[in-house]
């Protein structure tokens, strides 16, 4: 009902189109008729109090959780509710977890190698070799995320912030059309946070990015359209300044 307040868009123009999605866990409605869209090249921030359904929303879009009802369309072609994680990843949707998740025993370079776009089957990877172009691509991303000097270090020994960047790099190297970042600056120092904001602004435009974040300073720094979730559906949408003035938002989230 609240979602109805948000302007309905034609699915064809949006990159991602989430329509009236509901998910329940043992009677608890994690998502309640959520409708939501992302335009090509857009960067979007999603905020909301704990339990608002942010992570569940990403779980549904990336194929981890099946919704009880509703549609999720990508590029107007793919019904994401019928696909699994690997298939969704392969059509160009990347996801960074809340807790930085890299392969701790692999080197930074290998982490990126595994993320590199390419065939993902057992047989091709058994005989895969890196060609010059792919190496250059890895080097390029290493530069972007500022981990060039750490290329041979096991990823498990990186600092928290470095792991976050490596994970973002692993998403970038896949060249996804749509990126989901779950709290990308959690646990980062202020300097690292600022660097991350720069990094994301730098890559926006070429990719659509959805950032789920608690850190208001960071959201302000991103300076993008903000969607506020509450109790599993969209409460408000617009610029940060706009939503911050919305009395309902102040009531449920900022006011507390």
């Amino acid at each position: 009902m609240i979602a109805a307040a948000v302007t309905r868009r034609e699915p064809s123009s949006a990159l991602l189109y989430v329509d009236d999605v509901t998910v329940s866990f043992d009677g608890f409605r994690a998502l309640n008729g959520l409708s939501f869209y992302v335009d090509p090249g857009e960067m979007r921030a999603v905020i909301g109090p704990n339990g608002a359904g942010k992570t569940t929303m990403m779980d549904v879009i990336t194929g981890k959780t099946r919704p009880d009802s509703g549609r999720v369309l990508f590029r107007d072609r793919y019904d994401l509710t019928a696909m699994d994680e690997a298939a969704i990843a392969s059509i160009g949707i990347g996801r960074k977890f809340q807790k930085p998740t890299v392969f701790p025993q692999h080197s930074v370079f290998e982490n990126l190698e595994l993320a590199l776009a390419g065939r993902r089957g057992v047989w091709p990877t058994l005989f895969a070799r890196l060609d010059g172009r792919q190496r250059r691509r890895i080097d390029e991303v290493l530069d972007t995320i500022g981990l060039g000097a750490e290329r041979t270090r096991p990823a498990g020994t990186l600092s928290h912030g470095q792991k976050q960047w490596l994970e973002i790099g692993m998403l970038l190297i896949q060249d996804p059309e749509l990126l989901f970042l779950d709290e990308p600056v959690a646990g980062m120092t202020d300097a690292e946070t600022a660097q991350t904001a720069d990094l994301l602004r730098g890559i926006a435009g070429r990719h659509s990015i959805v950032v789920v974040e608690h850190d208001m300073e960071f959201v302000r720094a991103l300076d993008v359209r903000v969607t506020v979730l509450h109790e599993g559906s969209v409460l408000a949408e617009g610029s940060l300044a706009h939503v911050q003035q919305d009395p309902r938002v102040i009531e449920v989230y900022l006011g507390r």
């Binding site: 990336t62 981890k64 994680e85 690997a86 298939a87 990843a89 392969s90 990347g94 996801r95 977890f97 998740t101 890299v102 392969f103 701790p104 025993q105 692999h106 080197s107 370079f109 290998e110 190698e113 595994l114 993320a115 993902r120 089957g121 057992v122 990877t125 058994l126 005989f127 895969a128 070799r129 890196l130 750490e150 290329r151 041979t152 270090r153 096991p154 498990g156 020994t157 990186l158 600092s159 928290h160 692993m170 896949q174």
Partner: protein
């Protein structure tokens, strides 16, 4: 265990690391030396290897291959299979069936058509699944096919529904337990409790003959060597790195677009096939295969070989299998009461104090020592690494 980024570019041979090369050389030396010292050196010589030792060593090599197979799934893919003894036993039964058919009319009942135990059960004709086992080639195909197919079907069901961790371990254990019950039954048609035994010859060679035993020993060494090289090539390929990635962070791998279940299925099936081959070589050397090989306890014992030697090192699995089985042979003859205490103690000690096993710990010390030397030479402080995360289980 982190592999150099250039590993994949070099030739297959160079992908075998120093411990691997050492192991292969030692294996080659053993494969030559044992038969020569047994057959060509007279018994009076102190260098003579007595005939009874040859199949014992051969048995150890089969166990080592089995351990390598388990290390492939556990060490590199994070699948703790408590049912690998089943694949080993199935390979063994396939070979055992061939050996039974070779007995012909030399059995106790002198029935050329039926193995003794079927005569004993008053069966009048050979069950359908025994047909074809007269042929050695057919038996070899079955040695590979039966464990491989079981692993494929079982793994397909298990991995597809994302059964992981202890749940997977428990259902693999249930699998081998179910097979044990099945094979203990007389009506199943595999000799019930007694299994298959009293073999006479293999490919026309007397099974007790020294030369046959030497040949089987060499075959076991060869199988172990080839099995090791295959596993090594797999784990050093990008597919191997994907497997380790799955082991350490399964959902990350999934969200990168890898079909986790396909990789697991590949590793599991390859591993089952290697285990089956190990079983097939084991049976003619020990002269019997019975349902006890299916017991859950036997399968768990394989895990401790790998854990002691060093999980995820392949060579360590070989080392662990040899050490523990030598220990078992020694203690069960000298002090049978003590063996289970020792084995149980090993399980606890290894998990508590040496989770990386012998080879893993050695590699750790060696790495630490080298890092220390490097640090001494170039005193620039290395960036302080944050705590290494435990691999997600």
């Amino acid at each position: 265990m982190s592999l150099s980024p250039d590993a994949a570019r070099t030739s297959p041979l160079a992908r075998i690391d120093r411990p691997g090369q050492t192991f292969l050389l030692l294996l080659l030396a053993t494969a030559v030396a044992v038969p020569v010292l047994n057959l060509a050196v007279p018994p009076s010589s102190p260098f003579h290897v007595p005939s009874w030792l040859v199949p014992l060593f051969g048995k150890y090599l089969c166990y080592a291959l089995l351990a390598v197979a388990v290390d492939l799934v556990w060490g590199f893919c994070g699948i703790l299979s408590l049912g690998h003894g089943a694949f080993f036993a199935l390979g063994g039964y396939a070979m055992g069936m061939y050996l039974m058919r070779q007995i012909g009319d030399r059995g106790v009942y002198g029935n050329a058509e039926l193995p003794d135990f079927m005569v004993f059960l008053n069966w009048t004709e050979l069950p359908w699944f025994w047909h074809g086992f007269d042929s050695f080639a057919f038996a070899l195909v079955m040695v590979v096919l039966v464990p491989g197919l079981l692993a494929l079907v079982f793994g397909w069901f298990a991995f597809r529904s994302r059964v992981t961790g202890v749940y997977l371990s428990i259902i693999t254990q249930a699998m081998t337990f179910a097979l044990m019950l099945l094979f203990y039954r007389n009506d199943t048609g595999f000799g019930g409790n007694n299994g298959l035994t009293d073999f006479k010859e293999i490919l026309g060679f007397g099974i007790q003959a020294d030369s046959t035993r030497a040949g089987l020993f060499v075959a076991s060494a060869l199988a172990l060597g080839i099995g090791y090289v295959i596993c090594r090539l797999v784990v050093t390929s990008r597919a191997g790195r994907v497997m380790m990635a799955i082991r350490d962070a399964e959902s990350r791998a999934r969200f990168l677009g890898y079909r986790v279940e396909h990789y697991k299925l590949f590793a599991f099936t390859l591993s089952a096939v290697l285990a089956g081959i190990a079983g097939a070589l084991y049976v003619p050397q020990v002269g019997i295969i019975n349902p006890r090989e299916f017991s859950p306890a036997s399968s768990i014992e394989i895990i401790i070989w790998v854990a002691v030697g060093g999980r995820g090192t392949l060579v360590g699995a070989v080392l662990g299998a040899l050490l523990i089985n030598y220990g078992k042979s020694y203690f069960t003859t000298v002090e049978p009461e003590s063996w289970l205490f020792i084995l149980g103690g090993l399980f606890i000690a290894v998990t508590l104090f040496f989770p990386r096993g012998i080879l893993g710990s050695l590699a750790g010390w060696w790495g630490g020592w080298r890092a220390g030397r490097r640090a001494a030479r170039a005193p620039a402080p290395a960036p302080a690494p944050s705590a290494v995360e435990e691999p997600a289980e």
